[in-house]
Symmetry: C2
Subunit: 354 residues, 2 copies
């Protein structure tokens, strides 16, 4: 697909959570209809699109019907099973491509890829069993973190190991799944870069944001990040290198640790990213529209930042405190039930530049 | 209704064109569902909302069903028949209220209201027949414009009169509908102010924009308008006076002529307005969200301008020239058929302040 997807075409989105919802709203501005595929029967994105298919990720017949009903497929989360993608891709193009998806689905593949292109990650070792873990702890030391290779997000599937004798218990708590042991990175800050690469190879990055987590969940992103300009440029260049190496088409989130020895890549997400929500009120073209532009073959838009923004996630009961944010730009996800740790919405607090 | 409409509630929107579509997208960000009522069976706004009722403005049963399915009603155009509103208002609140609607639905009532609160309009006279028109032409002179009192928009229902002997023909061409004769205003520029008034009486205006028309249809809006700051303040204050006098709740567009004797009010529109589309990419809170905030009882948001914007309407075949605007913020309306004079979309060309 080298031409621009015609207006009026339908984009299939795998996953109907808040990211799919905001992607669909951006797509509507460009006159693309969206069709959501989600296992839930009333996903948040379903409220803003003409079509929803409710189906399991293993329901190949439903996935094929969905694929035949759309002109192009993208996804809001990287853990779509390979079999689902195989079924879809036999019928309709999927963007971003499989390479980025497979790399990001497995923490070992991801780190191998990143170090393979000369970037720095935390020290890591593949862990299949207790002897491998004990040996790795001897090299990487403690404290360190044992993570499942696959399906981890928002701090799930992770165990911190403070002493070597916790190794056995950690493996048990992760159900002996294939894992990776990661050395602890002593970082000053976490930043992220939201990068976009178009079908023509053009690459654009939004300004790096500074992220604050609690309980493994992103709480706030601040732009500008309070780091030297040279470091911001490093972060952007490094993101460009990742996008190019993967021949990527779409938006990607790259999480980075700022350490006294430079930038360390934490992880990459081949999709729009929570830490890029500030772009909705800080840029003419936000990350959601940039993603739609990239996958449809449109040129990327102007993502330069025209305001300072503090993005504040509304997690679970935070939603009940919405009155303190009524002056800010509010983005709610249409989720009826408040649950602990559930992302209910976010607000962007916008201030003039400078 | 003095409290904030609860999240998850449904807002009914009368009219499913591009204004209804953009209102619905703003409402979704605040977790309000929208239900569109429109005589067309696939209106543009229908693509981005969960519910659409297709019904005529005279179908009281359908209007009543619609009213019972929603928590609050607003409208995207001011020519909703009074009978339709009567049926709806017996069941559910309508915002903005009837006063502003009835005033803006009739050009004589509108001018009587405006002059009644001390504002300047074009000289005008009520015209019911040829003798009245001939007498009025003697006072107001030529060139002047004969307009139907009701249902005019985008230059429709208007006849320019250059010589008194054209009076009879002008009345015929307007099918002898009740009309108003308006004197020609010799203006340097046309500007407009998009004002918002909350349920609590708080009033906020966006920066005045400068409008360029062709064939009676808005083509471009520029912010900032190239007029003295004092005149901008006059325009904003005058808009506030209109909003207050009508006890208005919602967003209103006020079109003004800049003349060498000051500002002359051309017309008011009790709804979001084409000349306010620039706010989507020039302000943290745009006119659509401001309207939703006002009618739901939320406080108004920050509508200060953080960028210079040129809004360019895409009329009819303009859409086929979209490639020249691919670098700009694009807003398409999801209309399948290009027709002469039909508003297909707009783009916002954003530049840094200064």
């Amino acid at each position: 697909m080298s031409e621009i997807l015609p207006a009026g075409s339908t984009i299939g989105i795998l996953g109907g959570g808040q990211l799919g919802r905001m992607l669909a709203m951006a797509a509507a501005r460009l006159d693309y209809r969206c069709h959501i595929y989600d296992p839930a029967d009333a996903p948040p994105a379903g409220q803003v699109v003409p079509d929803v298919t409710c189906g399991a990720w293993t329901d190949i017949a439903a996935l094929e019907r969905f694929a035949r009903a759309v002109d192009l497929v993208t996804f809001e989360f990287e853990n779509v099973p390979a079999e689902a993608l195989d079924a879809i891709e036999a019928i309709v193009p999927v963007r971003p491509g499989r390479r980025a998806l497979s790399v990001s689905q497995d923490r070992i593949d991801e780190k191998d890829f990143l170090t393979g292109i000369g970037l720095t990650t935390a020290p890591y070792a593949r862990i299949d069993d207790l002897p491998m873990l004990e040996a790795a702890l001897g090299v990487i030391g403690t404290p360190s973190i044992l993570k499942t290779r696959r399906m981890g997000y928002d701090g799930k599937g992770q165990m911190r190991i403070d002493r070597p004798d916790q190794a056995k218990r950690a493996l048990e708590l992760l159900d002996h799944q294939p894992a990776v042991l990661e050395g602890f990175v002593d970082f000053e800050r976490e930043i992220s870069v939201i990068g976009a690469r178009g079908a023509d190879g053009q690459t654009v990055c939004f300004d790096p944001g500074e992220n604050m987590h609690r309980d493994g969940i992103l709480r706030r992103t601040l732009v500008p990040a309070e780091i030297p300009e040279a470091l911001k440029l490093d972060a952007v260049l490094l993101t460009g290198r990742i996008l190019n190496a993967l021949d990527y088409v779409g938006v990607m989130g790259v999480e980075l640790f700022v350490t006294d020895r430079g930038l360390v890549v934490n992880e990459i997400a081949p999709r729009v990213h929570n830490s890029g929500h500030w772009t909705q009120n800080g840029c003419a073209i936000d990350q959601f529209e940039q993603h739609i532009r990239a996958i449809t073959g449109m040129p990327l838009g102007d993502g330069s930042r025209f305001a300072n923004v503090e993005m504040i996630n509304l997690i679970g009961e935070d939603l009940n405190g919405l009155e303190q944010y009524l002056q800010d730009a509010i983005h709610l996800y249409g989720k009826a039930d408040i649950r602990d740790g559930r992302k209910m919405g976010h607000v962007n607090r916008v201030r003039p530049l400078g």
